[in-house]
């Protein structure tokens, strides 16, 4: 997880579009098989109790898993989500979320990643969600290359 991202990359291109851009996902670091993605709290990202919404937590975990798996694929390939599973462990009531993903296994075109999501408040990080995601590697369609 040492290397900062070397832009412009596929991960940055993916992140700069649609929901991940609108929500403000920030790719913090990428290394082959690993990724860290962060998200600052905003009023439009929370749920009824004022904590980060579970769907937003899942979206962040999904993004981190996708970047982690894609970062270990050859150029021109991208990982898309087959299924994702998240356990919510404690209230995500910090000022920021940080999702750290690592690829457990690539087997043919199937990759499996785990993601720990932390709720940050100042220097304190609390594990607020744990995620597993199954990805499949696709050739990036020509219009996206």
């Amino acid at each position: 997880m040492s290397a900062p991202l070397n832009p412009p990359s596929l991960a940055e291109a993916v992140n700069a579009k649609g929901f991940s851009h609108a929500a403000g996902f920030r790719i913090v670091a990428v290394a082959p098989g690993n990724a860290e993605v962060a998200l600052a709290r905003r009023p439009d990202l929370v749920q009824f109790f004022g904590h980060f919404h579970g769907g937003v937590i899942t979206a962040l975990a999904d993004q981190a898993a996708g970047v982690a798996v894609t970062s270990s694929l050859p150029a021109g390939r991208i990982g898309v989500t087959v299924e994702i599973k998240v356990n919510f462990l404690s209230p995500a009531d910090g000022t920021e979320l940080v999702a750290r993903a690592k690829t457990l296994k690539m087997s043919g075109s199937i990759g499996v990643a785990t993601v720990e999501v932390f709720s940050k408040d100042g220097a304190t990080e609390t594990l607020c969600a744990f995620c597993t995601a199954t990805m499949r590697a696709l050739d990036l369609p020509a219009e996206f290359r």
Copy 2:
């Protein structure tokens, strides 16, 4: 799934806040143990390929599961998500999503719901995701009553 929602309800109150409000979730129908929640496509809700983002799909499924489980609880109780699992089955490339949740089982304070999420394009509905969610019932904190 017949009865339209009778506002103002807890489901409407939950839905009127934070991410679900900002994204435009619409509660279509609620019956004890069941719920239908819809979401129109917007550019800030999609992913790289232009389909609804998997995290947004999960958020919608989560909301539908929460409303379904909460609707079968006594007044003053609310279902919060323990864990959620989504399989993505086909591209969510329609103009609208519709999530239909049903409670499989309440056992003590634990409820399990399944959610089918459809991508709609005109009159055509395509099953794009299938979700299971485990909820736990809590007493609604006093400040939210």
Copy 3:
């Protein structure tokens, strides 16, 4: 779910080996994309409280999902499990288990099935577990054809 199995089939061959044979799994019916597999209670299949062991319930659900997905594949292909997820809904304290699987979607080599597992006591069936499974289709190795 109408047609009885037409032996000898791949499903029967798979079922006649190892754990599924030793435990006594019975393929009740197979139709393209669907399967029903049953299991009678035995003292070596239960857990501490005397109900069917969760791992045995999962094994039965897995077998049913595998047969359901494989039954929709061309000859010489078999579905193997990528991941499986089971919610346990009520005590599996009947005299028999029946697992009914249906394929939700085949997309390329990936298939997703849901399985309802019922605990039977005489004519009464109780839903005791709900399962989703992701399968991938492989060419059957030559030595197994």
Copy 4:
């Protein structure tokens, strides 16, 4: 994971019954929130290709998660499985399985554990499955105390 189990314990009592006894599950070590459970290969525990059956792998992971969660509960309480999810990462073709579980979080009566399952062949361990399990703590019924 240092301390050997101090028998007779609840974990040993659970393990000495039904399927876990018949299959030959061995509790290797228990520490608060952690457990290691092993299983030697036998012809009646494999699937069609001769690897450990996915249901048997799940049963072992479930047992390890249950012991891990139960080991952190007060005396007279036991963890039972709400839901379990397993990703199969590589063929479980070794001579033994070892499942190592750790509790991520206890929150009220709900506990979440992750389990790594390794296929062993001599001194070589290969991660063959990754599991998450959600448990709920119950008072042990009087007849089991």
